[in-house]
């Protein structure tokens, strides 16, 4: 989907926020994959590379700070722009936000079930079901949880955009 400049200026404020936020969260996901896994260029980034606890803590803090800064800047900038354009948010925006929250809820529910099944089945049969995805170590647990959290934000923003754009 491509938009002209005039087209993007006609977007709802919440949709404009969702586009920029989606870009930011995809960036954070890439950062996570590069730091804790082999990276998107290899094995789809799902082969976990074991890290020291101190390094894991550093990565976690970096991701948290990046997310806070990105969300604050994007929310602030889109709100400032909307302040010049009348009503910022209305009932349709709230309804779409609710639908997007439901989509991210289902993502989290499914992802957690997949992780639990993977861990239990791997323990039962002795080796990880998905090669390289050993989420029983500290690095693996941190990766799995952060992947689900960041993934849920991406799903939420994508669902927001889909609901604004669907025919």
């Amino acid at each position: 989907m491509f938009y002209t400049l005039s087209g993007s200026l006609k977007m709802a404020n919440a949709e404009r926020y969702a586009w920029w936020s989606l870009v930011a969260w995809i960036g954070i996901m890439f950062f996570l994959l590069m730091r804790l896994a082999t990276g998107v260029a290899n094995s789809l980034g799902f082969e976990i590379v074991e890290q020291s606890a101190a390094r894991l803590l550093g990565i976690y803090i970096s991701i948290t700070i990046a997310a806070i800064i990105a969300e604050s800047v994007i929310a602030g900038a889109t709100a400032a722009y909307a302040a010049t354009k009348g009503v910022e948010r209305d009932e349709r925006d709230a309804m779409i936000a609710q639908r997007a929250s439901l989509a991210s809820y289902w993502f989290v529910a499914i992802a957690l079930n997949v992780i639990v099944f993977h861990v239990l089945a791997s323990a039962t049969y002795g080796s990880p079901l998905i090669s390289g995805l050993n989420i029983t170590s500290t690095t693996g647990i941190a990766f799995a949880i952060l992947f689900v959290l960041v993934g849920a934000e991406i799903v939420n923003r994508a669902a927001l955009i889909w609901n604004y754009r669907r025919p």
Partner: protein, 70 residues
């Protein structure tokens, strides 16, 4: 008895054109965004009862002069 399925329609574009109001102007009068008014006009979004009444009040017409169910 199963209620019949239908679609909420409206005459917002006609009423707006008669008054030479832009979508933004109507949006401001009813406290919605211009994008929401556009979605309602294109029948992509059915507003809540409250917004539907506010739109009818803004045009100073009856509810049924704006909204249809077919």
């Amino acid at each position: 008895m199963t209620p019949r399925k239908g679609k909420v329609g409206n005459r917002i574009r006609d009423l707006r054109t008669e008054r030479s109001w832009s979508q933004g102007e109507l949006a401001e009068r009813v406290g919605a965004t211009r994008q929401t008014i556009n979605a309602i006009e294109q029948e992509k979004y059915a507003p809540t009862l409250e917004l539907a009444f506010r739109i009818a009040l803004a045009f100073e017409v009856g509810f049924e002069d704006v909204w249809t169910f077919r």
